[in-house]
Every structure is written in structure tokens, then in C-alpha cells.
């Protein structure tokens, strides 16, 4: 009986141990996938007619470019200071009895804007508000009309009527107004039109038309507080004073950050550095520095015989939409200075030192400086030359953040290859390498391409390059697939060389069509 019991217990225990002790091996399988990864085209024609490139009659490209290096914010040029005007009005006789609806004050006053050496005759408000506070010391309501006689919009003088409750001298009735001044032109020449920086204000006060007769003395003060704040102007006439704009700007061309080696050769350069004055005021411009620094920290300063000199800039001509800015041009070509080496330095950082002085000789316009809404003060770069660029091992490198998540225990890349198919009509060939980088951007694995992009050859009539098709393969062996687990970035390095180094013409059909696909063996494990 006892033996039977033991057998039963051992049997149950054996089943339990088997059940708990069993652990299955992983089940693995692979599947083959072909997937598109990148499909894109780089077309030169996308840059034609967008003020970068144009096409010559022989289908070659012309670099016809206008780029603004910087543009000075002219809202700072003439700035109406925040102004508060407090005025009081009273009757001109000792006392009076006011019947209902009787106008008993009608006075104009002039107020000075506190400019420094600026004398303005006229200005237009682009944006801004006026805040008005009125105090009424008599016991009945008063009807106040505030006018600014020189402030006009669409032929209408600025005017507003407000009824203010009655009060006492100690505790006057108060009315507050906030009114928009945008689009109003201010005539600052005063009542007689021969002064400047003046703002006229007029107030009429009428007793309550429906109120009782009320007594008033010349001790009752009707006060007005006018506050002008944050007024921006887009038109001004007068003398703007002597103003100096001066700075050294750093311009970063991120497009060229990818260059890490090699050289280019450019031919037939023609480039203008232009200082533009869109203000009707005399000025002087000076370029003190224009230098380029490349990936290798090599700096080349551009030379010009007039750099460092203060050169006169005439006032702009005509007015409003017909305004014609004056220009100060620093011209460069292959034969002047060192433009070729400046360009071939392939700088990604440029420093420009400049100064522009308005009215260097004082009020020579007799108070007739004019700023229009379309006035600009800027420095431009203009080019007009054939695009003849040779490349000699020009190496571009860029890094993309990609997490392949190849540490996935369920599914991961075991091996495969990336196939890059290209159709090229650029006169440049390229060798391409991929680098797998970890999160610290350290190289885990270098994958060199089998094959390369060949430069395109010209057609018989020398009007285009013939498309050439290539296929490159990047083998992802098991070691590379293993590295994908830690890969957080992929760095692509392409080394470009042209068939010709000199006078290497690029035609309007230049394009590079890319199709990157993956032929991958995916391993699943469960």
C-alpha cells in the first residue's frame, strides 16, 4: 500500500518536473525582401529661373544670381519717440452761465516731439495707437471733440467726439479713448507750415445739450492727456540726422558644410558686391572685410582696391513706387584681385565688415531727406558668369540620423545589400562610401560600394550631356548587419571628379536620378 502511494507521488512529481523543466529552443527563419529606400532626382532645371541659374542659347548654364547679404531694418532709422502731451483748457472770461448745448471752448495748441537732431516735416504712421484721457470738472456732462488738425487719412482730419460725465474740480469726470492711428500722415510743420517736429491738437467743449444750465469759472480746467506709444512709420520727410550703421556679419552657407576635401576649378567669373541706398539722403558706404573660411579653417580674404575706403552713395531718385535706389558697386572678375582663389576656397563661413553713414556731411538736402515704404539699405551679391566648374576629388560628406532598430529580437536584418541605381547627366562621376556610426558618431563599419557613378559625356552637338546609367552595390554582410544593432547614424561620403578640370561645362539637362533599394534577408526569431 505504501509502495503504491510512493509510485503515485513519484509519477506526479515527474510530470511536474517535466512540465516546468521544458524550455523550447528558438524558432528561426529568414525571408527575402526587396524594398525601395530612396527615390529622388537632383535636377538642375529646378534652379533655373529662380534667380540662381539661367540657360544660355547653347544650353549651357549661366550663374545669374542675386543674393541679399544683409538688409538694414529702417524702422530704427526714424523713430517717433513715445510722447505724452498734457494740456488744460479753460474759458477766457472769469465766469459764465452755460445754457444746454453751448460751445464754450474751441482752442488749438501745438506740441513738440522731442527728436534729437532729426527735424521732421512729415511722417506716415505704419502702425500705432493714440490714447486720450479727458477730464471734465463741471457738474453736467460735457461733449468733447478732440481733433489733430495736421493728422490726415484719406483727406479726413483725425477727429473724435466723446461725451464725458460731469464731476468737480477735485473729482472730475473722466473719459478714456484708444484710437488707431495706422495710415495717418502727420504734418509736423505747425499752423503756418514753416516749422517742424510739431503736432497740433484742437479741443472743443460743449455743454450737455439735454442738461441744465450750469455755472463755470476760468478756474475750471478741462484737461486732456494724449499718449502716443510705439509708433512705427513707413514714410518720413525732413532731415534724418547723421546716422552710422556698422557691423561685421557672419554668413554661414550650410549647403557647403558637407565639403570635407578636394578642390574645384572655376572659370570666367564675374561677381559684383553692391551697396544699395533706397533713401533719398546722401550716404557713404565702406566695405572693410570680406573673407571666406572653409572646412579646413583656411581663410581667404577677398581683395579690392576700394575696400576700406568710404565711398559716396547718392540719394535715391524719384519717389514712392518709382523710387530708384543708388548703388555702389564693387566689381570682381578673373582679372581683378583674387576672386578665383576666394571662390575655390569653398568656404562655408563668410565674414563681411561694412559701414553705411547717412548724411555724412550734415543737412545738405535742406530738410528734404525722404524715406519711402519701399526704401532699403542693403548689400547684395550679384553674379553673371557661365557655370564652368571642374571637380578634382571634391569630397562631400553628410550624416543622417537613422535607427535601424536591428536589435529587435523578433525581426532583424541578417544580411543583404543596398543597390544604388543612378542615371547621371552631370559631367561629374562619384565614388561613394557608407559608414555606420554609433550614438557617439564613432565608425562601426565602413561599407564601400562596388561600382561607381560615371561622369556623363557630351553629345555630338555639344548641347547636352548623355545620360549614363550605373548600379552600385553596398554589401551588408553579417558583420555589417550585426553593426546595425548599434547604428544610430549613417554617414555618406561621395568623392566627385569631373572629366575636365578646366572649362567643364554644365548643360541644362544635368540631372542625377537616384534609386536606392535594399535586398535584405530578414531573420525572425520567436
Amino acid at each position: 500500500m505504501k509502495n503504491n502511494m510512493n509510485i503515485k507521488i513519484y509519477l506526479l512529481a515527474a510530470i511536474f518536473i517535466f512540465a516546468v523543466g521544458c524550455r523550447k529552443d528558438k524558432t528561426n527563419w529568414t525571408s527575402d525582401w526587396v524594398i525601395p529606400i530612396v527615390n529622388d532626382s537632383l535636377l538642375v532645371k529646378d534652379y533655373v529661373n529662380d534667380s540662381t541659374l539661367s540657360v544660355n542659347p547653347d544650353q549651357s548654364l549661366q550663374v545669374l544670381m542675386e543674393r541679399e547679404l544683409f538688409n538694414i531694418d529702417l524702422t530704427e532709422l526714424i523713430k517717433i519717440p513715445d510722447t505724452t502731451i498734457e494740456q488744460s483748457f479753460s474759458i477766457l472770461f472769469p465766469a459764465a452761465e452755460l445754457v444746454p448745448g453751448y460751445t464754450f471752448i474751441d482752442q488749438i495748441k501745438e506740441n513738440n516731439f522731442s527728436f534729437q537732431d532729426v527735424t521732421l516735416k512729415e511722417a506716415r504712421i505704419k502702425k500705432g495707437q493714440i490714447q486720450i484721457q479727458i477730464e471734465n470738472p463741471i457738474p453736467t456732462k460735457g461733449v468733447f471733440t478732440i481733433s489733430l488738425p495736421g493728422v490726415v487719412k484719406n483727406g479726413q482730419v483725425f477727429s473724435h467726439t466723446q461725451t464725458v460725465d460731469g464731476g468737480t474740480t477735485a473729482d472730475p469726470g473722466v473719459g478714456n479713448l484708444i484710437l488707431d492711428l495706422s495710415g495717418h500722415t502727420i504734418d509736423m510743420r505747425g499752423k503756418n507750415g514753416d516749422l517742424y517736429n510739431l503736432l497740433q491738437s484742437k479741443m472743443t467743449v460743449k455743454s450737455d445739450p439735454e442738461g441744465p444750465t450750469v455755472s463755470i469759472t476760468n478756474q475750471d480746467k478741462f484737461k486732456v492727456k494724449v499718449k502716443l506709444e510705439k509708433l512705427l512709420i513707413d514714410y518720413a520727410k525732413g532731415y534724418f540726422g547723421n546716422i552710422l550703421f556698422s557691423d561685421t556679419l557672419t554668413v554661414n552657407l550650410s549647403e557647403l558644410n558637407s565639403i570635407v576635401g578636394g578642390a574645384i576649378n572655376v572659370d570666367s567669373l564675374n561677381l559684383d558686391l553692391v551697396v544699395v541706398n533706397g533713401i533719398k539722403a546722401r550716404a557713404q558706404g565702406r566695405i572693410s572685410l570680406f573673407e571666406s573660411t572653409n572646412y579646413n579653417n583656411t581663410t581667404v580674404g577677398l581683395n579690392h582696391p576700394y575696400f576700406g575706403q568710404a565711398l559716396n552713395l547718392n540719394p535715391a531718385q524719384d519717389e514712392w513706387q518709382w523710387l530708384r535706389p543708388s548703388e555702389l558697386i564693387f566689381a570682381f572678375n578673373n582679372n581683378s584681385g583674387n576672386l578665383k582663389s576666394f571662390i575655390e576656397n569653398l568656404g562655408n563661413t563668410y565674414r563681411v565688415g561694412y559701414s553705411i553713414e547717412i548724411n555724412p556731411y550734415g543737412n545738405t538736402s535742406n530738410g528734404n531727406d525722404v524715406l519711402y515704404p519701399n526704401s532699403e539699405l542693403k548689400v547684395m551679391l550679384k553674379s553673371d558668369f557661365p557655370m564652368l566648374v571642374g571637380a578634382d576629388g571634391l569630397t562631400l560628406q553628410d550624416t543622417f540620423a537613422i535607427d535601424f532598430k536591428n536589435d529587435n529580437k523578433l525581426l532583424r536584418v541578417e544580411a543583404g545589400k543596398l543597390i544604388l541605381k543612378t542615371t547621371n547627366t552631370f559631367p561629374y562621376g562619384a565614388e561613394v562610401k557608407l559608414f555606420l556610426l554609433n550614438e557617439n558618431k564613432e565608425v562601426l563599419k565602413e561599407i564601400a560600394a562596388i561600382g561607381q557613378v560615371s561622369p556623363a559625356l557630351t553629345n555630338a552637338s555639344l548641347s547636352a550631356h548623355l545620360p549614363i546609367e550605373n548600379s552600385m552595390e553596398f554589401l551588408v554582410d553579417e558583420e555589417s548587419a550585426e553593426a546595425l544593432k548599434e547604428t544610430k547614424y549613417v554617414m555618406v561620403r561621395a568623392k566627385f571628379s569631373s572629366t575636365l578640370l578646366n572649362n567643364n561645362v554644365i548643360y541644362s539637362n544635368a540631372a542625377l536620378k537616384l534609386l536606392l533599394s535594399g535586398q535584405l534577408k530578414l531573420k525572425a526569431s520567436i
Binding site: K8, F18, K24, D25, T27, W29, S31, P36, I402, A524
Partner: protein
Amino acid sequence: MIFYRIKITVLFVAIFAQGNVQGQDLLPVLYDTTLANHQVSIVGNVFQHSTGLNNNFSRKFIFGGEINDELSQKTFGNQNDYNRVGFAVHAGAEYRASHKIFDSKPNWSWMINVANEMHFSGEYSDDFFGLMFVGNTPFFGNNASLANVSGRFDHFLSIGGGIHDRKTKSFLTLNMILPQQFFQMNINRGGMTFSEIGDQVDLRIEGEAMIANSHAYFKGLGAALNFGFNIPFNTSDAFNGIINITGRNIGAYQVHNADFITVDAEQSFSGFALNDLLNNDGLSSFKDSLNISETSRSGFKVLPGFLQVGKIVTTNSTKVLQSFFGVRMYTNSVYRPLVYAGIHYQPLERFSFGAQGSFGGYGNFRLGFYANYNTEKILIGLGTEDLLGAISGNQYGHSAIIRLAWKI
């Protein structure tokens, strides 16, 4: 490895064999006409069955190992437009008391039972299998259909108690269901079309998935009934016996705070543009275009309940040969009604064996075999519902059954 396989095989047999104690639900169900005293029984079964996955393939999932390209291709070739697959593991124990609990019903007593169950059911297209195990190269220039692909996996504990009739062996228990894992996915509409060289993929997919992801050990709560009723019939002297109606896990449970994911996308993809990669927003904008939404929600789920109705055999019969037959269902949409019929042979008082054929369920025809041995106190049964599947790699399922009972 060999030892491991032996161990797995023994485990299968150990867990899935069956004996002659009432309440079992796998073939054959044996009816013991003696009055029961205290009784402890352990029952287990595991099966895997499909319409298109042969055993050479499915054993890689049971025992582990490498599915090579040749096996993947061959199995892919065996798939039909529509395929089913399922597997289940059931391990349970119960105690039946002999104490009378109602004076008016002297044969009624109480019982308790506990079980751990796993159940998976799935349906899929041959194209879905191809994409999973072969890749997309067979579909270049064609469409791979992903429609009507679904799968569901439940893993839960069942603990409960109730009453049983010591004479008829009928019983009824009410059980608490404690789900441990739950996963369900459906692709309602879907397909992937590949260009001739694979440089363009057109994807259309509308589907949803629900995954129990609560931090709690039990992912929800539910209730279910287990029952078994034995009804004698006597149409003639030549044909009489017992009709057995068995139900297990007839109920439902609530899954708490499950991840609910829906996708509704129609996307044509031929590669990223360079600007997408330069701006590092290619993958994120591609994901956005798939309209994937993830929410947390609770859901009410009907259990994969077991139902079986059929004529059973009696252990105390004077007949050496007895027939048994019936029909079985699981309460899910993938399982097809399984019909079965077999012969039970009892040459000795303590030993019996038999065989049966069945058709339906998660696959097609299967042939089963079993053997029972019983003493006065111990009952041991071993068997399989898929005899050919146990020995042949070209069959489409596995099955093993064990049942041990100890009459105290």
C-alpha cells in the same frame, strides 16, 4: 537536443493522455457506473492542428530550430487561399468529495477544480504566409492579399467549484477566470502590391489589434461554467448507452486597460525623397501616413469555450466492443464543428483501447488511438487524437492526452 526532444515528447504524452474519469472532454469519454468516493484527478491535453501547416514545419515551433528556405517554400506551396490553425494547452486538476450535501439528493456532493489554459486560433491567406516566411519576392508584379487575416491568443487560470452527482457523474461548477495574457488582431481589408522589380509598394490595410498590457499579474476578470451531463438512452437492446454533454469555459472575461491599436492606411511608397532624410522626418511622416492610433481600453471577450455532445462508452459494460461518436465545438469563429466516431475494445477487465476518426476543427481528417489501464484505485489513460501526426512529418497536427485519477 535528443534528450530534450524525448523530454518534450514524454511531456506531451504525459499531459495529454486521458483516463476514464467523468468530466474529461477528449476522446474517448468513459463512463464509470460505480458510485464514486473521494477522487482526485489530473487531466491534460495539448493539440495543434491546421489545414496547411505540415508537421515538419509546425514542429519547428514546438521544438524550436531553423526553418530553412526549402521548408518555407514547400510549406508556402501547400497553402490554400484560406487556411486555419489552432493550438491549445489545457492542464487541470479537480477534487470530488463524497459527502452528502442535500438530504433530498443523497448522491450530490461538492467539488472544486482548477485549470491553466492556453488557446490560439488563427486564419490567414496563403499570401500572408508567403510574406511572413518567404518575403516579397514571389509577389513582384502582383498583389499579396492580407484580407481576412485574424488571430487570437488567450492564456488564463480558471478556479471554481460546484456540485456533482456521485452516481451519474454529472457535474456543474462556476469558475472565476483570471486572464494572464491576451492578444487579438484582425486585418479586415488589406493587400500589398509590388511593382515588377520591387521599387514601388502599394499598401492598403485596415485592421486592429488588442494586447493585454496591464501591469497587474492578472489582466482582467471573468466567469465561466464547466459542466457535464450524462443522459442514458435506450432505443433498443442492441443500441443503448449514455449521451454526454460537456462544456468547459463557457463564459467571458473583461480585459482591463489593454492597448488597442488601429491602422487604416492606403499608401503608395517608392522611397523617401532626399529632403525627407536630410530633415530627419522621413520615417515619422511615413508612420503618420499609416494612420496608426494607439489607445487604452477595456474589452469584453467571450472565452474560447469547449462544447462536446456525443455517445460515450461505459467502463463497466459487459460488451467487449462499444461505439462512440459525437460533435465538438470551440466558441470561436475559426474552429469548424468537429465530428468524430470510434470503436472501443475492452478485452480485459482492467485494460481497454480503441481508435477513432475525426474531421473538422482547425484542420481536416485525423485518426486517433488510445489505451486505458485501471486498478481499483488508479486510473491511467494515454492517447492521441492524431496518431499519424505523431509519427509523420507530412501530417497537419499533433495531439497527446493523459489522464490520471486516484480514487481515495
